[in-house]
Symmetry: C2
Subunit: 191 residues, 2 copies
DNA sequence: TTAAATAATACAACACTGTGTTGGATTAAC
DNA sequence: GTTAATCCAACACAGTGTTGTATTATTTAA
């Protein structure tokens, strides 16, 4: 049963890899099962032994890319700089850059952003209120604002051909969160 | 020639409407031309007289939803509150709520967000530097951060079943931009 | 002013591509 | 030798995009 398992895992991964190389080139609806299996070197019907359709492959792949709650240090980081754990986010994005850059691009999957928020938001919520459910609207909207901003700037960062050095980005994000974007925009205007 | 034109426009709009009612229910790849034309009351092949495929319908529809540069007052608003024209954004989102709420949702189109940014960013850029191209990275990243945040919070707002009153949202966004999200998060923490 | 010619709108039918399933062949594990 | 996994060939079906044609509105010319 040992060799069989490894074969299965291997085939599965081959299909995922073939899918991903196609997903980097075109949107998912243009990807056919035929193409995937051709690239991976299998019969088309073999695909259906492993996945339901192309969207199923994407779904399973995304699942591995969503940070595991139990892996993230829950409150420690929040108390450290009393805000969003910027360094953790940067690590997450940089580490999975290959996938994140595509999934969060204009050809990517809006559901992935949603999934990310859905995992992280309650985490932050509980850090601030002790409960995962929003106590007041202000906090809820503020988190949505900040999370969107964070995901937006980090997507931009990892997609950039010449990305900002890590420390500069870190400093900028912190300044943005501590002093507001307006102040920084005004400084730029003065220059 | 008058009646012919109006028939064309009418048919075209019928197809777009039928498409949209389907797009509200499911993702675009599950929408067939057959369904669209059935709902609109035409033969399937009539569709191809008007659009290339379902994506073409979406594309044309989105085009009408992207704010026209010439319609937006260019610098006046920026100088008013020396930042992002929050009220303009709120108007834009509220006015096109029916479409924006879907297009910016997890079942929507990431390309639409991209299109929005691509139109608005140079506008803001030129307001701050006089040129549409970024002079320094800091400004570029700051705009990306703020635009992402703005689009994020406004999407959340219009999708909410019981949305925050306009004036409260406006005040919150201004505070977020002027003082930074951290301060507001800290205030919430204290409560 | 009316009848014929033209151009638009809509559709039926066709060839093609991709989908998902079923039943069978091969090969490893027991 | 039996069982079960992996893979594949073939089938029925659904959706696509095109082509040729009928119908009807507009234009042209007698």
């Amino acid at each position: 049963m040992k060799q069989r398992e490894s074969i299965t895992q291997h085939t599965r991964q081959n299909i995922i890899d073939a899918f991903w190389s196609l997903y980097c080139e075109k949107t998912i609806d243009k990807i056919t099962v035929k193409e995937i299996t051709q690239k991976a070197g299998y019969n088309r019907s073999t695909f259906y032994e492993y996945f339901h359709d192309a969207y199923d492959v994407l779904d399973k792949l995304e699942e591995t890319l969503i940070p595991n709650l139990s892996e993230l240090p829950p409150i420690t980081v929040l108390s450290k700089d009393f805000g969003l754990p910027t360094d953790l986010f940067m690590d997450l994005f940089e580490h999975n850059k290959k996938y994140y850059a595509v999934l969060l691009s204009e050809n990517g999957d809006p559901a992935f952003t949603s999934r990310l928020k859905k995992v992280i938001k309650p985490l932050l919520m509980s850090a601030f209120t002790g409960s995962t459910k929003p106590i007041n609207h202000s906090l809820d909207y503020t988190l949505e604002y900040t999370l969107s901003a964070m995901i937006g700037i980090l997507s931009y960062w990892i997609s950039s051909p010449k990305p900002l050095p890590n420390d500069e980005l870190y400093a900028l994000v912190h300044k943005l969160m501590q002093e507001g974007s307006l102040k920084i925009l005004q400084e730029n205007h003065a220059v």
